[in-house]
């Protein structure tokens, strides 16, 4: 298969970016999207025409959350329930023009080309996205019984890989689905109860402070989430946030 690629090139956070056009030829339909970019980079290096295209990637099996490209107007491209590394060229047609951009959101500044800085997500977790359980002294694991449906629902939320597609998909660049997934995961479990009110307040404040937009319930995030995290978690977050805002302040 042959493709024409329009790829966003930007030397660093402060430079002006622009699209550059490249051709790749004889690509196998079983090739992954990132392997196709590897082939392009091999050409660019071999011919010394340009610095190879920088893009984040690591596990290449859809779980580390490191890769994330905006392909033809969709985060992670035109397949459902996959990350960019699991997108295969068989999803395209021979001769296609493909537009490749980084995540576009103010809290995710471009580092170089298609690489963005997602450390804002780490900061939100640091604001309270955990259960304080200092090493040692935990009770026996089966001392805490958790109904299967609760554990399963917590796991559904915990499957978030922190890739940022939800933010990229959102017209407001809201991080609501990411935050809600963590709030939901921990608050569904009995271990997460003692800190639940503080957690939701602190994580939401941090999200606002870092410049993520508001959620207007458009649910583009749910449609594009590679792990298919559900919008119901956002409803749970809102309920908890309201509960702590109008309830007794525990801090």
């Amino acid at each position: 298969m042959n493709f024409t690629l329009h790829i966003w090139r930007q030397a660093d956070a402060l430079s002006q970016g622009r699209f550059e056009t490249y051709r790749v030829e004889h690509i196998s339909p079983d090739c992954s999207f990132l392997e196709m970019l590897d082939i392009l980079n091999g050409q660019l290096v071999g011919d010394s025409v340009a610095h190879p295209v920088c893009f984040d990637n690591d596990c290449r099996e859809g779980i580390c959350g490191m890769c994330g490209l905006y392909i033809n107007g969709r985060p992670h491209g035109n397949d459902d329930g996959v990350t960019t590394c699991q997108l295969h060229m068989r999803r395209f047609s021979d001769g296609d023009e493909i537009w490749v951009e980084p995540w576009r959101a103010k809290p995710f500044p471009v580092v170089r080309d298609l690489v963005v800085d997602r450390s804002a997500f780490d900061k939100i977790i640091q604001a309270g996205g955990y259960i304080s359980a200092t090493t040692g002294g935990a009770p026996d694991a089966n001392a805490i019984l958790i109904p299967k449906h609760k554990a399963d629902e917590a796991m559904d939320a915990a499957a978030c890989i922190g890739c940022g597609a939800c933010v990229a998909a959102c017209k407001n660049a809201s991080a609501m689905l990411f935050v809600a997934a963590k709030v939901s995961h921990l608050s569904l479990l009995p271990q997460g109860q003692p800190e639940a009110a503080d957690r939701v307040r602190r994580m939401v404040s941090k999200m606002d402070e870092l410049g993520f937009g508001s959620c207007t319930n458009t649910f583009a995030c749910e449609a594009e989430c590679p792990k298919q995290i559900k919008r119901q978690h956002i409803a749970r977050l809102n309920r908890q946030w309201i509960g702590q805002a109008f309830g007794r302040d525990r801090k």
Binding site: I39, E61, C64, A138
Partner: protein
Amino acid sequence: MNLDSKIPEGPLSQKWTNYKTNQKLVNPANKRKLDIIVVGTGLAGSSAAASLGALGFHVDIFCLQDSPRRAHSIAAQGGINAAKNYQNDGDSVMRLFRDTVKGGDYRAREANVYRLAEVSGGIIDQCVAQGVPFARDYSGMLDNRSFGGAQVSRTFYARGQTGQQLLLGAYGALSREIARGTVTMHTRCEMMELVVEPDGQGVPRACGIIVRDLVTGALRRFAAHAVVVATGGYGNVYYLSTNAMNSNVSAAWACHRQGALFANPCYVQIHPTCIPVHGDYQSKLTLMSESLRNDGRIWVPRRKEDAEAIRAGRKGPGDIAEADRDYYLERRYPAFGNLVPRDVASRAAKERCDAGYGVGTGLAVYLDFRDAIRRLGRDVVEQKYGNLFQMYQKITDTDPYREPMMIYPAVHYTMGGLWVDYELQTTIPGLFAAGEANFSDHGANRLGASALMQGLADGYFVLPYTLQNYLADRIYAEKPRCDTPAFDAAEQRVRQKMERLLSVGKSADGHPVDYYHKALGKVMWEYCGMSRSEESLVEADRQVCELEADFHRHVIIPGTADEMNPELEKACHLADYFELARLIIADARQRKESCGGHFRVESQTADGETLRDDGHFMYVAAWEYQGAGHPEVMHTEPLHYEEIQIATRNYK
């Protein structure tokens, strides 16, 4: 060199208790004054940094990704072992210990393995307290599944994403310490060099590292009272492996160059169930969890004509009648069946394919869920393995609910690594190695679901004790500084290495880094992979030396060292892989026996099983670096078994 493993006195079951009772401690006020560097944010690194930070030490932790949550522990699928005996099926610390030593083909250190089994239960307690959503049954209690090499169900799991959930648990604990200010996180930073400096008494000690900021290219210095390397394994020396693209040996190799011995490099685990290779452009292989062998049955056609017809596309798996299917693991190993250890399952697959019974490209066998779907229903199978089936479907474009999966062995895990004593300290005082980066617990083959157990055991429950024992004496030392000649020299070495690579002039014979890495991987897989012989290893060494010379003369690297430059990073990694590859080959040559994942064709039984030679090879081989281009020197640590009855491994 005398390799003192520092195994504590007393009976096996009391050694760790005795150690903890008698070790030195650091009081809380002094802990604040002590700095520790942790490199790597996988299970071992994150759990160690979080636990050490909670104790009150100041920790600087480094990862090369954009967030600590990306470390490759996240990709572990199947589960984590622990001797909880929740299933009442006869499990115990002693049995987990014995299974692990036997699974490792009697090439692991007894005391370390016992401690691992001993702390395993506490790991599950700790993770549940952190909110790890392990699978549960309808009573609300924790569920278990079975893994290879065990006849009990002791594997805890969170769907097919156990590594992810455990890592996110450790990441949560780490994030809490970062917020509390005890741990400082440095993302997109790669450790380039270890700094070793003599203390007041002239004893050389690890006192810091040089890192490269991967965004700006700037080199930065960090000094500390102790350094922990938790940077994972070196499977990517084979290019195609189940490791992440950025997984590499360079941090561990920098330690090795500075004097830390490297143990058992030839022990490489080839995982039996991976999606087969399908093209030259391929960048990595994807694992299909061992847990699938709980319900999937592995087979190839019994008749060669059928295998040929399948390869030619004239027949499909559904056309092969039950009687014409060879469930070769069940046939050869009735006692363990599809749940034999990984090395055994991998060799059996290779044997069938080499004999002409392979399907697909010829290098694949079937992993079939037909019977499980009939027995349990599609819903149950989907609940247990849904994400794995989806992953398989997306990669191969075939539906594993209808057609059996095609799988083939691939490089997955490395049992070898930096030599450490009982305290997880390397041969350089003050330098510790944890998780896959050390060699200590898995002998010549690791059992499934034991890597997560070891990573977290080291980080949560071993290093917080043993590091304290080391640091108790360091409170009298001066605060480490990074403006010393040792730091200057280390930084200079890093600059020289990068400049040498960047100064290679462009020529018509030149290629990008990946070209040389792929070629190295092919040589290693062909001649030093699932089976090895004196002849193949000599050939491997010859080809690796040629390739290495070619790489250093012709590699094309764009850009400079003062910017984000992934090609330069890859070239630095590959330069180290070439040295490592030659060490793996040397180690495989000297070990003329077969054991675990190391199969020497000269040493096998009549029915093709591994044949150990305990009389000559019951030792750990620990190698000392002698400078670039010089053969390394081997030291040995004899293995003594007090508790274990040495036997031939038998899964029949």
